[in-house]
């Protein structure tokens, strides 16, 4: 199932296509609900789970209040341990810096572990266009890379692909036997294939889960060991991090690491949690610190909490809309509730459908390890869209009309009577015509003869409060 053309169709259109294949939508929904259940079971084993969330939110809030100072401290300590720290204002600058480092070392092949930031910056195509091969080494990322499509989930990049499809892909690209669909066998094939890439890589690239100000170190978490395979073999390691990744002290890591894997996959911890302080012997470690719009989001009091995200994906797994519409419906590097927020902050017009791709059920807030008030912020983005007149004119007009009708009892009652009359009298063919979106798959409510207040007046007299 490919991403299709990368044009902006908006969430409702793509979601409708995804949901149209009900069997598949249910399969996707079940897969992610399963992860949500695993998260619940893992969290239940942590007696101080809710207090951990409070602590994580508080650490993030505290860090935001001194973000520049903590980044400077991180830089000082990183340099003292032999790392080189670069600063990139935007995606273009990030890509230039990375390219300069790699080409300066004659790098032809990079082994890259998962980094949503590098996706955001469009790093892969940038490097490929300049003759540097980028091998995404996380299995899910490699699958989508071979398929020529973006990841559909930040933790499970290939969650939208069935094993048979991955088998076909591997048959075409890796030469595995046709019809092979067993996950274990496919993973083994990927192990062999990527082993060769790891062994021949000239450099390793990673993201950064956490950057510790106190020690100048970066922490990278994986289950597969691909970040470590990529960075302990070649002598050059380039790590990209957003400015929001810094945490004050090593002790703070305990809070985040106790929350991260449990929230993401239901495991107590990722297999590898590697703490890089300075380069490998005789090598170089470059950390590229990236803004790319984050300082603007930080400045917005109603949006800055979305920057505290630790990229666990729990909000996606619990979101009943995400599960039934798939990551591609969001048309943004990070999908789901947090993606909708980040996208809407970055470019409200381009992503105008995303704040509405939600029923505001609030489940995401409750699973977020750092207590981002996701559903509240989504509502605020809706308000911002209305205020900026980004919503369609027809919508604005009908809402103004509705507001006027509702502001006066007489008009409200008249409108209600007309509505009930139409529901009673209109022939079904007209009532359920193409104009009636509600009526495509649902019956309209049965119109009562009287409204509540008409009955009240009739039976209780004209009793006003």
């Amino acid at each position: 199932m490919s991403a299709g053309p990368r044009e902006a169709l908006g969430h409702p259109v793509r979601a409708a296509r995804f949901a149209a294949d009900e069997a598949r939508a249910h399969w996707h929904d079940q897969a992610l609900w399963f992860v949500r259940e695993k998260r619940d079971r893992a969290a239940a084993l942590v007696p101080d789970w809710e207090r951990l969330r409070d602590a994580a939110a508080a650490i993030r809030a505290h860090t935001q209040g001194r973000l520049a100072a903590y980044l400077e401290e991180f830089e000082r300590n990183a340099i003292a341990r032999g790392a080189v720290v670069h600063w990139a204002r935007d995606a273009a600058e990030h890509n230039d810096i990375v390219h300069r480092i790699l080409s300066g070392h004659g790098v032809r092949r990079v082994a890259k572990s998962k980094s949503m930031l590098t996706e955001e910056c469009g790093l892969n195509p940038f490097l490929e266009a300049r003759g540097i091969e980028v091998v995404d080494t996380d299995l899910g990322e490699r699958i989508v890379q071979l398929a020529g499509e973006p990841p559909s989930h930040i933790i499970f990049p290939a969650i939208h692909r069935k094993r048979e499809e991955i088998g076909e892909l591997f048959h075409a690209k890796l030469g595995t036997p046709a019809g092979l669909a067993d996950p274990k066998a496919l993973t083994e094939a990927a192990r062999v294939h990527l082993r060769e890439r790891f062994m021949s890589a000239d450099a390793g690239m990673t993201g950064v889960n956490f950057a510790v100000a106190e020690t100048g170190g970066i922490v990278v978490c994986t289950n597969e060991g691909n970040a470590d395979m990529g960075t302990h073999l070649p002598r050059l390691h380039v790590a990209s991090m957003g400015v929001e990744k810094v945490v004050p002290r090593l002790a703070d890591l305990a809070v985040f690491l106790r929350l991260l894997a449990r929230s993401a996959t239901g495991q107590p911890v990722t297999t590898y949690t590697s703490h890089f302080h300075g380069p490998i012997d005789g090598g170089e470690l470059h950390v590229v610190v990236v803004d790319n719009g984050r300082s603007e989001i930080l400045a917005d009091a109603e949006a800055r909490r979305s920057l505290t995200c630790i990229r666990c994906g729990a909000c996606m797994n619990t979101c009943p809309v995400f599960r039934r519409s798939g990551g591609y419906s969001y048309e943004y590097v990070v999908p789901g509730p947090i993606g909708a927020l980040l996208a809407a902050s970055r470019d409200p017009r381009a992503h105008a459908s995303l704040p509405f791709a939600s029923t505001l059920c609030g489940s995401c807030d409750d699973v977020c390890p750092v207590k981002v008030d996701l559903h509240h912020e989504l509502l605020l983005r809706r308000r911002d869209l209305a205020r900026a007149a980004i919503l369609p004119r027809s919508k604005r007009l009908s809402m103004s009309l509705l507001g006027w009708i509702l502001a006066h009892r007489a008009t409200y009652e008249a409108a209600g009577r007309i509505l009930r009359l139409l529901l009673r009298r209109l022939p079904r063919a007209i009532l359920y015509g193409a104009w009636n979106v509600w009526g495509r798959r649902r019956e309209l409510p049965e119109p009562p003869a009287e409204s509540f207040r008409e009955t009240w007046r009739r039976t209780r007299g004209a009793g006003h409060g």
Partner: protein, 195 residues
């Protein structure tokens, strides 16, 4: 203006009012006997815990493990546990390829999640923990902490260095959520709790 200055200035202007860092001292799940619980934690992450009450028996246990795993090339960084690959003599980390079993020292284990802290100090090629086909970690039985809060009280990076938490064998669930043990890193992880 250079990017560093521009970014830091932009962040300073954007920062919210300061709020205090929280007190973390009340967090954690301290256990009366963490060593008693670490076995199930290691199993929960796909590893195997083996108790070796007599330190002298360790070498034989490791040899038995290597034999069971069919590991021909064994590299040991643990004194008293012999191997047939000398890690220090390998010219380049790429030469780690093909090591059947790597035996490394773990500083301590964590009961809440089955992880072992493996500092790289003393290892010439720190990547051995991930390149080897199978991994064995040797942890003193007295060095089991309850949770990560306790763990980080024992971790410091006064200078350059590397350390990693290893929790079981490498794994992935990227294909239809089916858990597969042995992704890119070691296919198995045995933790020897010694003493």
């Amino acid at each position: 203006m250079d990017s560093r200055r521009a970014i830091l200035d932009a962040l300073r202007r954007a920062q919210p009012p300061e709020s205090p860092a929280p007190d973390l001292s009340a967090l954690g799940a301290p256990l009366p006997d963490p060593a008693a619980r670490v076995g199930e934690a290691v199993a929960a992450v796909g590893g195997t815990l083996v108790r070796v009450p007599e330190a002298a028996a360790l070498a034989a246990e490791v040899a038995a493990l290597a034999s069971r795993l069919g590991a021909v090339r064994v590299a040991s960084a643990v004194p008293g546990v012999p191997g047939n690959v000398s890690l220090d003599d390998l010219p380049d980390p790429h030469a780690l390829e093909g090591i059947g079993l790597a035996v490394l020292a773990g500083a301590f284990a964590v009961a809440e999640n089955g992880a072992v802290w493996v500092p790289a100090a003393g290892l010439r090629h720190r990547g051995v923990f991930v390149v080897a086909e199978h991994l064995a970690l040797v942890v003193p039985a007295a060095e089991v902490v309850s949770d990560l809060h306790e763990a980080y009280r024992r971790i410091a990076f006064p200078g350059a260095g590397f350390g990693t938490f290893v929790a079981g064998p490498s794994k992935t669930a990227d294909i239809e959520q089916a858990l597969v043990i042995g992704a890119h890193g070691p296919r198995s992880c045995t933790v020897f709790l010694v003493g």
